[in-house]
Symmetry: C2
Subunit: 453 residues, 2 copies
């Protein structure tokens, strides 16, 4: 505790929090890792220099630092450690938009939605759109290389990060990349930090690339009485055109959303697809007509297209609402497995089998156009046996995805909860490569130990 007194004295008043109730509220992120510890303190820096002081202090005392954005992570990447520090970037909230270079310089604590809003004032668009965009921070998005619904056409966070300011494990602050659209000077270190889950450094500033405002396009919604028919339709579409969104909900999700929103969704459907095109003018309409025709060819039970953006948005909102709607049925273990597109149907049917075998409800929603699915495993936390079966299913789904040539995480990161399954995907040599990079950048292992890999 002498060490901590030193940190409190070094930093501005109120920046280091030690109140037990506050510490308790920073123990877990949304993954609610049951193994979470209680941190020594929560530090909420305002400037890069503050972060440097925290890391110099942590390095000197060999104290673990868990960087944290808004705590919306779903893999336990911000789980607190006993005796460690939680470094929350929530107070670092500056943004400056440069409409001329179509870039913005953003501090990590700003919400994704706030970035979108700030740049929209200049007629610009920051594409990455995790479902949690209204509550998650850019810093967390960079740490996990967050995705979302638009990725099928517009890519993920790393595709929009041109530069970073990062504080390294020893407190050194470095600038990587910058507002240059192409830069091949030196190793691509900016890219190395995006998705590194706070294990290599603390990001204190992000330079993002922006696009002109997205055209609000046309949308088609379709229901199927067979999951595999819906998945086949997805593969037919992505082989031919570039939809701006291509989302999947299974029967459990459809019913959970209908329970809450009462939109008139077909409760008897096995699957629903929501697809959009944001191409301008006739091209967007053509794309939607093409997708509607593909759905019909694949035996869709209902196909509804609209070029009214608000009407289209209602279906997107239904898809976005699927996680909270399913969550109303119990506690969730939230998966993020991805597969090469042709294996999508096999993944979904494999998950159905796991649900039956383990006698738990699992709802599959998916960024189908990316092959990235979110099986939501529902359990009653008061039923220990069911919780254990849910945990078994959680692991089995990751094993299933890896067996299909897939990944244990498409966009949420490994965090702490998925770590036991990572070696099964990467193999021992690639795990060793991860460790070598980590050792080179954080030799004492103070940055988010136990997370990421």
């Amino acid at each position: 505790m002498d060490a901590l007194a030193g940190l409190i004295a070094e930093l501005p008043d109120g920046m280091v929090l030690t109140d037990p109730d506050i510490l308790a509220s920073y123990r877990q992120d949304r993954a609610a890792d049951p193994a979470a510890g209680t941190p020594l303190a929560v530090v909420r820096p305002r400037r890069t220099e503050d972060v440097q002081q925290v890391l110099r202090w942590a390095a000197a005392h060999r104290i673990a630092v868990v960087p944290r954005g808004m705590g919306t992570g779903l893999s336990g990447g911000a789980t607190a450690l006993d005796g460690g520090i939680v470094l929350s970037t929530e107070k670092m909230r500056d943004i400056s938009v440069d409409p001329v270079t179509r870039t913005a310089v953003v501090q990590p604590g700003l919400l994704n939605a706030e970035v979108k809003k700030a740049v929209a004032e200049y007629g610009l668009w920051y594409p990455p759109d995790p479902s949690s965009f209204e509550i998650c921070s850019i810093g967390g998005n960079v740490a996990t290389n967050a995705g979302g619904l638009c990725c099928v056409k517009y890519g993920v966070t790393t595709d929009y990060v041109l530069g970073l300011q990062v504080v390294l494990a020893d407190g050194t602050a470095v600038r990587l990349g910058g507002p240059r659209l192409k830069d091949a000077a030196g190793l691509p270190l900016t890219k190395l930090f995006v998705g590194s889950e706070g294990t290599l450094g603390v990001v204190t500033e992000v330079t993002v690339k922006l696009l002109p405002a997205q055209h609000r396009g046309a949308t088609v919604v379709s229901t199927f009485d067979s999951v595999s028919a819906a998945c086949d339709a997805v593969v037919t579409i992505t082989g031919k055109i570039r939809p701006s969104m291509l989302e999947f909900m299974d029967s459990v999700a459809i019913n959970a959303v209908e329970d809450k929103l009462k939109m008139g969704l077909d409760r008897t459907a096995a699957a629903m697809l929501v697809a959009s095109s944001d191409d301008r003018g006739a091209a967007g309409t053509e794309d939607v007509e093409f997708m509607a025709a593909v759905f019909t060819e694949h035996g869709a039970t209902e196909v509804f297209s609209t070029s009214d953006p608000d009407e289209g948005e209602a279906f997107v909102a239904a898809r976005r609402f699927a996680i909270p709607a399913v969550e109303a049925k119990g506690s969730l273990l939230l998966e993020d497995v991805g597969v090469p597109l042709p294996a999508l149907a096999e993944l979904v049917s494999g998950v159905e089998k796991i649900a039956a075998d383990r006698d738990v409800v699992i709802s599959v929603i998916a960024h189908a156009g990316d092959g990235n699915t979110h099986p939501l495993i529902v359990f009653d936390p008061a039923d220990a046996a069911m919780e254990q079966r849910a945990q078994q299913a959680f692991g089995e789904i990751m094993d299933l995805a890896v067996g299909l040539g897939g990944t244990i995480t498409g966009e949420h990161g490994v965090g702490r909860l998925k770590r036991p399954w990572l070696a099964g995907q990467l193999g021992p040599e690639v795990m060793e490569l991860n460790r070598r990079i980590k050792a080179a950048l954080d030799p004492d292992g103070i940055l988010n130990p136990g997370a990421g890999f």
Copy 2:
């Protein structure tokens, strides 16, 4: 030479070349590095296993290995070293296209143009298009994170690499990433290797993401009597829309091209812009009309638009022909500096001043929409004093770009020729980060020593 006999014995007949004429032909890439050495041997593996054997052998004997694609690099990234091995991937030429996942698995020796052609048979498109696309290999493109003309809308090589097979310095072969559109498992190592210039491993297989065939759109060509007016027009356009190409040629380039192609280009113009939109239908035409209007507003002396793709392609071909056309005037030192877009005019006028001060001809062509320029410094190799002035100008242009917040290389890589200027851009801490990663992956420093950083 005993060591070499061992390698020759281990590998299939004819894979290791030691004929002096052949060795001489592999000493340099297109950068014609005057400091090039003579290698002990040239090895042309056919399989990943061959590459593993070469690297195991090189590691055991601490012999430097210079990986080489088709030798079209412009920074000396494949300069041979005395007593080292040149590992040419030119014989590794397999490709398999998967139209369902819209991906292809490509060996490094295939030409960029061959990849484009192979995937076009499936109605698909591999976007990155360095000007050398007909003679450069995918392996070299991955090593340098190559760009091209389409990058202003479609990004660079790293944006299309989903997975790699890489042989590490000790001969271990690893698979990174794969045919998954989103993958957040472990550190983003795939991204680390793209642009690492053969310093961290030898890429033996690349999984690339493909797009549906590009729509052949509309093009607008415009001349200006002022470079800064042309640059201002560029910035106005990129702030508002996403052209699929936005290229710049200065007066020297216009005249050099006109000397050769006799297209009727305006020899009195100070600058020419060639811009395209590949958006379908009315949207593409609108974009081109918008760009034409912006050119007019910025005082263009001539504006010509066409929605005939062949007519448009003739102007693109003129732009592509600029380097060979200028090369006809003497030997070239070819720059690749980039700046944030608003600094483009200042960069070009600064280059003009350097040309005047050093009394050499410098022609500027640019991927203007990216802020990535290629000043071509022309000199007579028989005139030692002029060559020295050209070398001075070469360094001064990089210093100028860095001073404007830019980069010494946008898409060609640092190689050996630009290395003295890298620390000026990155600073000592980032240089140290580069070296730490290198030491972690290639502790004996056998992979392309002296290149990259």
